[in-house]
């Protein structure tokens, strides 16, 4: 039994190609129809995001299935094979497992550590389950991938620092104001990046946003979107008085907010702190304002500097994450190996024999009083009990049938006899999580 993965991502394929091969969200049925009929494929699942298209399958004949997957991609999307074979990567078994764990832990993402990919994989997994395309192995693999991603997130700092300008600004604001709930923001100029930062601030709890712009009309439009107020540039001194966080992004040549404007108002606002985020080039906020007490000025270079150092921190953390992943890949491989009839029967036999011995030991005191013949009889009796108990499960395991069903049966029996303690515990955990959701 092999697990294969065929796919392409942002590293191997340009956006134009990724778009062509992207699976449409409305056509899940048709896609899985095609996937299930790929030759010698037992289980299958696809993951399709803006950064990657990947198809994973279990199979007895990896070469044929890999070939089949490429052809399916070509036929289904109407793209010629030679247009994308160059960009495809193929993983088998251990490499597939490792790759999936890396993707789920966001080690393979365009922005290292970004958290969305895990959610996307969860959605993909639910679709595959709903379509009946994934079976014992892929189900376990995906569950494992989720728990690995969680482990990576909690045990390494890969997601803990901001790597985008607006997120970095929000983090700084939190270190100044503590909570952003109830704080007032002022947007001077209405650039795209300012909008993004405003969205971040709003979702972090900022109570109201005022937008000041050279053309009042634009300010009014944007204000509507954020349920805020609009102001003209000449009103800035007044609105500045009430603001806690100011984001500037005008195209003006000189400074829009000067040292004296801010210095003069600090006494009046009783020194309430104010945080300027200047993402305009050339700058809108006079840099010397940063020297005034309780005033903090960050320009775009400052923010980029923070992001760069955070990125290198994430890369350090990624090394730790790789170690976790290697460990988990090994565990998964071990589990797959047990998913065969012979080791399962041996596992049950060993377990029953162990129980038999343990119970005999416990009765040592009573057994001592018996004659050797009687002891012998009890031994035979217990042995035959074990054999009888074993009989039906073994028959059930040896039933012929579709490959996927057989693996499911093995998995079932292993769980009933609790042969992989850790896995049963994990299933219980996942079950509880699902119940919470």
């Amino acid at each position: 039994m092999n697990i294969v993965l065929v796919g392409l991502n942002h590293k191997t394929a340009a956006l134009a190609l990724r778009e062509k091969l992207n699976f449409n969200r409305d056509d899940i049925d048709a896609a899985y129809q095609g996937i299930i009929s790929i030759p010698s494929l037992t289980e299958g699942i696809y993951i399709s995001t803006c950064n990657r298209v990947e198809l994973m399958a279990t199979t007895e004949e990896p070469v044929r299935t890999v070939d089949g997957i490429s052809k399916f991609l070509s036929n289904y999307h109407g793209v010629k094979l030679d247009e994308f074979t160059q960009s495809l990567y193929v993983y088998r078994d251990r490499d597939t497992v490792k790759h999936l764990f890396e993707v789920a832990s966001s080690l393979d993402s365009m922005i290292l550590g970004e958290p969305h990919i895990l959610g996307q994989i969860k959605v993909a997994y639910r679709q595959a389950v709903a379509q009946g395309a994934s079976g014992v192995i892929l189900n376990r693999l995906l569950h494992k991938a989720f728990s690995v991603a969680k482990r990576v997130r909690t045990e390494t700092g890969i997601c803990s620092s901001a790597v985008s300008v607006s997120y970095a600004a929000v983090e700084l604001a939190k270190k100044i104001f503590g909570q952003l709930k109830g704080k007032k923001a002022l947007l001077v100029g209405a650039g795209e990046m300012a909008e993004l930062a405003a969205e971040h601030l709003l979702s972090a709890g900022v109570a109201e946003i005022t937008i000041a712009n050279r053309t009042l009309q634009n300010a009014v439009t944007l204000a509507k979107r954020f349920h805020g107020q609009a102001a003209s540039l000449s009103e800035i001194p007044t609105v500045l008085q009430r603001a806690d966080i100011v984001i500037t992004s005008t195209g003006a040549e000189g400074f829009v907010i000067g040292y004296d404007d801010v210095k003069g108002m600090m006494r009046q606002r009783k020194n309430r702190p104010i945080f300027f985020i200047d993402i305009a080039v050339p700058r809108d906020v006079e840099p010397s304002i940063n020297t005034i007490g309780n005033v903090y000025v960050y320009d775009i270079d400052d923010l980029k500097g923070i992001i760069e150092s955070n990125k290198s921190k994430r890369e350090e953390e990624a090394i730790k994450a790789c170690r976790i992943i290697d460990e988990e890949v090994l565990k998964f491989e071990n589990w797959v190996k047990t998913l065969d009839v012979v080791p399962t029967i041996r596992g049950i036999k060993d377990k029953l024999e162990a129980i038999r011995k343990a119970e005999l030991d416990r009765s040592q005191a009573v057994l001592k009083q018996l004659s050797p013949d009687q002891v012998q009889a009890i031994n035979v009796l217990t042995e035959s009990l074990v054999k009888k108990v074993l009989h039906d499960p073994v028959l059930y395991l040896k039933l012929n049938g579709h490959r996927q069903n057989r693996q499911a049966r093995i998995d079932q029996v292993r769980k009933v006899f609790n042969l992989d303690r850790e896995i049963v515990e994990q299933e219980i955990q996942i079950g509880e999580q699902d119940a919470e959701n």
Binding site: K175, K270, P273, Y296
Partner: protein, 277 residues
């Protein structure tokens, strides 16, 4: 107070401090929790030492330098536990507990002088006077620790260079709030303590005010905090300036408390206490 209880409290404070310092490095929350329980345990032992002594002798044993250092440490830990309960700022303990431990070590190294036996010292008034003053000072010590934290964090944000402490320290707003809270709660305690002291001086010695160096310096310190409180409430002094004032205020406390005892003599100094008839 009994040597055993003092020693037990000292050990608790030192282990608690170690736990808090490890917490800064390792960021394991359990360290903080354990350290706080150890401090609390040490506080209970320490306080019961004073209570036992009070019951046995009829007065609070703070009339020697060693004992008063130990009482100061007790007040700092007490103030910290109160403020921790209010703000739940884990890292505050990492800054406060070393200060309290320093007072304790200092006390342990100071030889015990003979207890002055004047009957004037056996008074509930005096116990209340000392307790209020020290609790106020303990709270101002916590304010000092929060101010140091504020200044470090503000430096990060202003210079835009971030040390590992940046992540561990809370927001400026919270630190300023601790500072403010300490000022508002410590100041009335100090005020009441000083008033009671002066009333007792009138009753026992016949004068409210004797221009004793300790009295003069205490009043100066009190004025300093009064100005700080006033400026905070009316002008809106806050942030860096308030933090620096909290540091200066703490320096003034240290001078009033230790410097005056050592360099300037008066009936308040510990050798002077012996002479009260």
């Amino acid at each position: 107070m009994s040597k055993e209880l003092f020693l037990a409290a000292l050990i608790c404070y030192l282990t608690g401090t170690l736990g808090y310092l490890l917490y800064v490095v390792l960021q394991e929350e359990v360290l903080h929790r354990v350290a706080r329980y150890i401090l609390l345990f040490g506080f209970i032992l320490h306080a019961s030492g004073f209570v036992v002594s009070y019951i046995q002798t009829g007065f609070l044993p703070v009339s020697t330098f060693r004992n008063s250092l130990s009482f100061f440490a007790l007040a700092i830990i007490g103030a910290y536990l109160l403020i921790q309960a209010r703000f739940n700022l884990m890292i505050l303990g990492s800054f406060v507990s070393p200060l309290a431990s320093m007072f304790m070590i200092f006390a342990a190294l100071t030889p015990q002088a003979a207890l002055p036996a004047s009957p004037l010292l056996k008074s509930l008034w005096l116990t209340v006077h000392v307790s209020f003053v020290f609790l106020g000072l303990g709270i101002f010590t916590v304010a000092f620790a929060a101010a140091i934290m504020y200044l470090i964090q503000e430096r990060h944000l202003k210079r835009k260079r971030f040390s590992p402490l940046y992540r561990r320290l809370p927001s400026l707003d919270v630190l300023d709030a601790v500072n403010y809270y300490c000022l508002v709660s410590g100041f009335p305690l100090l005020t009441i303590g000083l008033i009671i002291g002066s009333i007792y001086a009138q009753m026992a010695l016949g004068k409210y005010w004797r221009w004793d160096p300790k009295e003069v310096w205490s009043l100066s310190t009190w004025f300093f905090y009064a100005v700080l409180l006033h400026e905070r409430l009316t002008v809106g002094w806050r942030g860096r300036r308030a933090a620096i004032m909290a540091v200066i205020g703490f320096a003034a406390i240290l001078f009033t408390y230790m410097g005056v005892n050592h360099w300037l003599k008066g009936y308040h100094s510990f050798s002077g206490l012996q002479a009260i008839k």
